[in-house]
Subunit: 153 residues, 4 copies
Amino acid sequence: MSGVNKVIIVGRLGKDPEVRHLENGASVANFPVATSETYKDRNTGERKEQTEWHNVVLWRGLADVAEKYLNKGDMVYIEGKLRTRSWEKDGITRYTTEIVGDNMTMLSPKGSNDGGQSTGGSMSSSASQQEQNVASTPAGDIALEDESDDLPF
Amino acid sequence: MSGVNKVIIVGRLGKDPEVRHLENGASVANFPVATSETYKDRNTGERKEQTEWHNVVLWRGLADVAEKYLNKGDMVYIEGKLRTRSWEKDGITRYTTEIVGDNMTMLSPKGSNDGGQSTGGSMSSSASQQEQNVASTPAGDIALEDESDDLPF
Amino acid sequence: MSGVNKVIIVGRLGKDPEVRHLENGASVANFPVATSETYKDRNTGERKEQTEWHNVVLWRGLADVAEKYLNKGDMVYIEGKLRTRSWEKDGITRYTTEIVGDNMTMLSPKGSNDGGQSTGGSMSSSASQQEQNVASTPAGDIALEDESDDLPF
Amino acid sequence: MSGVNKVIIVGRLGKDPEVRHLENGASVANFPVATSETYKDRNTGERKEQTEWHNVVLWRGLADVAEKYLNKGDMVYIEGKLRTRSWEKDGITRYTTEIVGDNMTMLSPKGSNDGGQSTGGSMSSSASQQEQNVASTPAGDIALEDESDDLPF
DNA sequence: TTTT
DNA sequence: TTTT
């Protein structure tokens, strides 16, 4: 059987990415992203904000991009899939659901969190869960050197 | 701040929906949905299947549709948002991530699980998290009586 | 039969929205949005950018939000459906495909296009293709007064 | 600049796929897909159906899968991007908007259109717009032999 | 816990 | 031009 398992979020990083570099050369980035929505309280009529936190995991090239360019507070578009992992603690099985991203677009103006450039822009990166090499042009543009995007159709 | 929190899955129900009817008249349906993907084991070269389980929650009209028409094994398209709830057990805080659906399309042929009609088809339902009344036409078509879909644009 | 017809874009407005106010009180906004992707030319190895233009249509409350807050150059997240219209010109039938949005999140920092505030933020609006009233809080936050979002689940 | 350009449809093929095999070895499949939604006429109160037609284009491995397994009437999940092409006819520029699919899941029970097996199922295929080889197991399962899906994370 |  |  097969199916579809797709998540799309646009939100802000709650922390800087934590990036680990594995023995096999792959890197993994983890960071929380908040998405919030506004709703009106049924009883009080007040506007309230409901925030949802998502655990995002990025692999390889996307992890490298996250390490270099993403900071706490940045707004990102993340597309990926849900994965629930189980782990033991004190003899108790616990579950964590993560978003394993395979596509990311940075939505915060460049340098907005570190005193750099101030005009808007976004950077986009895409991964096919394969090996990727990250290139950064002088202008700060980011692209994954990936055979998969040779053709624009 | 605001953002986007969207999930789309296509998969099969692992169990019949469990539906509760709340005191205030609202109904809630819960059921697990499996999405699976096929991948090739890097070492053995074997095709393997990875299954992911999702906890789906539907409210009101969609819960009623689920109660009436969804069964274990059925294939569904679910669109919704992620919500992580925490709950206490034995003094330990645990977390569960659910997909709160606001749109559903039934993809299994009608009657495929209960000896009914045999030709294919799908039924679609949409909710705006507001009051809904469910109507079922003689032909088995399902629709939420909702002011919101008066116009087709 | 039923199905799914969903589009999600994140891009920049090519022009200010054109808003018409219909006799029946409804408003409609039209504007083009550019999404671009970067790819590597197979022959030259050069980085190239491919831009795609989308015709976006918003109705009622979302049109009002667009009229008030969206400007050429702004980045937006738009979620909606595809609709292809045909029209006659010089006796020839022509077709136009549009994205009819039912959800929008403004991704440009407030005031970034008119000399206003400079720190980031986003505003989100959602429509269920029903009547909407737009409220703007003093802080500039936007929300559609819609029964549908009374509850945050 | 970068952005997001994503379409997701679930609908039925209006015709068998037309597949062309290009000189360079690549194949391209074209076929129309109908998505429909039900709405209630504001004046008459009648249930009506609004059908939208989408021009789908698949390349390489996905085109091969379409050629082998997709038929008129089949239900499919297609994920891809919008692309508007212009072409000349009688000195007039015309535009066509297509969905260039990069992910497909077959939702019709196998053999439902050719007298084969009768129990439900779905087949899924994914492409990264790179070279793909299609493998069909004896059981009829489909997979793109693609380095990119070696790992299931 | 689904399905092929 | 699909399907129920």
